[in-house]
Subunit: 279 residues, 2 copies
């Protein structure tokens, strides 16, 4: 059985029931869930749908966005993350054996008009620490996701895998790991060393391609594996060498893919995964 | 007298004579030149225009693009860089006292269909080494420019200041330095350490802003200082602390700015520079 997991973001317009169905029908055994389609049906119904599907749950996207300097906004963000932690535990529990109670965390960007990147980074690190007890209580792993520097201003101030590891190494491996996404890290000259350093801390491994020319919308600029410039065999070998044996998620934000039939996308994903990652 | 230099790319549609005139008339004492507008009038005429202008020349953009794996293409790229080195020497010689014989080098991207980023990086480093003797003979400093990771696939495989320093530290400081451009490096968690490490190696310091939402064309995504998210005071202080006393270039690729009257852009640049960098 392949380690491929279809991240729901790849078929963004499918509701949860449809996403589970097309994933299973494409012969994919695992799915990465998102909070919004789960909230659409409610957590209780989502848990039932996941349990019925027979699929593994590889992660829940996403928490984070905790760089606000305003104390009220910050407290609200942490509360939202606590809810996300509970959802992660419930959904992973409902998934087939081999499911992972992993909550992917995107740090968030600079507050409006704020140019203190170091300050925002420190607040993000502190927030992960503040959530550690909640994660431990729920048996959930917080997966800090370094984001491509193109998002440093407005989405994710944690820009490299090394930086994400600096944050999570302050906490036990049982509650804090990293999300390694090829789109975000492929360019890093220190990638090989940092992936090696991440041994035992990789909570999820995600793949999609870097395509050129860079599409107009920076948020929708990801490509299907094989259509761009990333060496999936090389990066996957680095990840495997750490002993990572978990699911490998395909997470693609791309308008053309979103506009396609989700069943066709699931099949296309399985083929591209076999041809590039091959696990 | 301000250390501001107007890089010609900011007023891309102005010919060389116009660029020199609007720069001087905006009270800016230095200009960063580009090879294409120089070639338009020919090097001899360009040298005469620069000498007549009374302006300093802060750098020539640009050489590089030497990541080809094909030996013929590689030899051609190196020859082109040797011509650029000669042009740099002639134009800096023609400029007012304080001019800098600095050739900015952009590594180039991955060859078509090639996913071996480490290989392309090694070829770029080798090429800088191969050009060192030519640079020394002409009294020119090669300025290796790390480029924002957004360009790693198709334009510049040297992605961080640390990586650029790894390349140039193999060579004497008299022939090899780095170009520090805020747009390319602002996001780097290691920025403070790497700028400190670059002491004595900063061949040119360039400023422009990172704006959001990210514009449609990745190559035209730079903003005027103050319109985006970069902390110019903070980064400039790091650069000053290294002992860098050279010109500070404003280099902005932005369609709206290109479409504006170049004289107005020069004045707007001088004001934005005073308000943000203030040197």
């Amino acid at each position: 059985m392949s380690r491929l997991s279809l991240n729901q973001a790849t078929i963004k317009y499918a509701d949860l029931a449809t996403a589970l169905t097309v994933t299973r029908e494409a012969g994919i055994a695992s799915i990465g869930l998102w909070r919004e389609p789960v909230a659409e049906v409610g957590l209780r119904q989502a848990v039932a749908l996941v349990a019925d599907s027979g699929l593994r749950v590889s992660s829940l996207c996403r928490g984070g966005f905790f760089t606000a300097s305003d104390p009220t906004l910050r407290a609200r963000a942490l509360d939202e993350n606590r809810r996300a932690i509970e959802e992660t535990a419930a959904l992973a529990e409902a998934g087939a054996p081999g499911s992972s109670p992993v909550l992917v965390l995107v740090a968030g960007g600079l507050p409006e008009g704020d140019r203190d990147l170091a300050g925002a980074r420190a607040r993000a690190a502190d927030a992960v620490g503040e959530l550690a007890a909640d994660a431990a209580g729920a048996g959930v792993v917080l997966a800090v996701e370094p984001m491509n520097p193109i998002y440093a201003a407005d989405r994710g101030v944690i820009s490299t895998l090394g930086q994400a590891l600096d944050v999570v190494e302050e906490l036990p491996a049982a509650v804090a790991g990293v999300a390694v996404d090829t789109f975000h890290v492929w360019w890093d000259p220190a990638l090989q060393q940092q992936i090696a350093r991440a041994a035992g801390r990789i909570a999820t491994y995600q793949v999609c391609d870097w395509i050129t020319p860079f599409p107009g919308d920076a948020l929708l600029s990801r490509g299907m594996m094989g259509e761009g410039h990333i060496d999936f065999a090389g990066i996957t070998a680095m990840v495997e060498k750490t002993g990572y044996t978990g699911d490998i998620e395909v997470e693609i934000f791309n308008q053309e893919i979103w506009n396609s039939d989700p069943a066709a996308v699931a099949e296309r994903t399985a083929k591209a995964f076999a041809a590039t990652v091959g696990l």
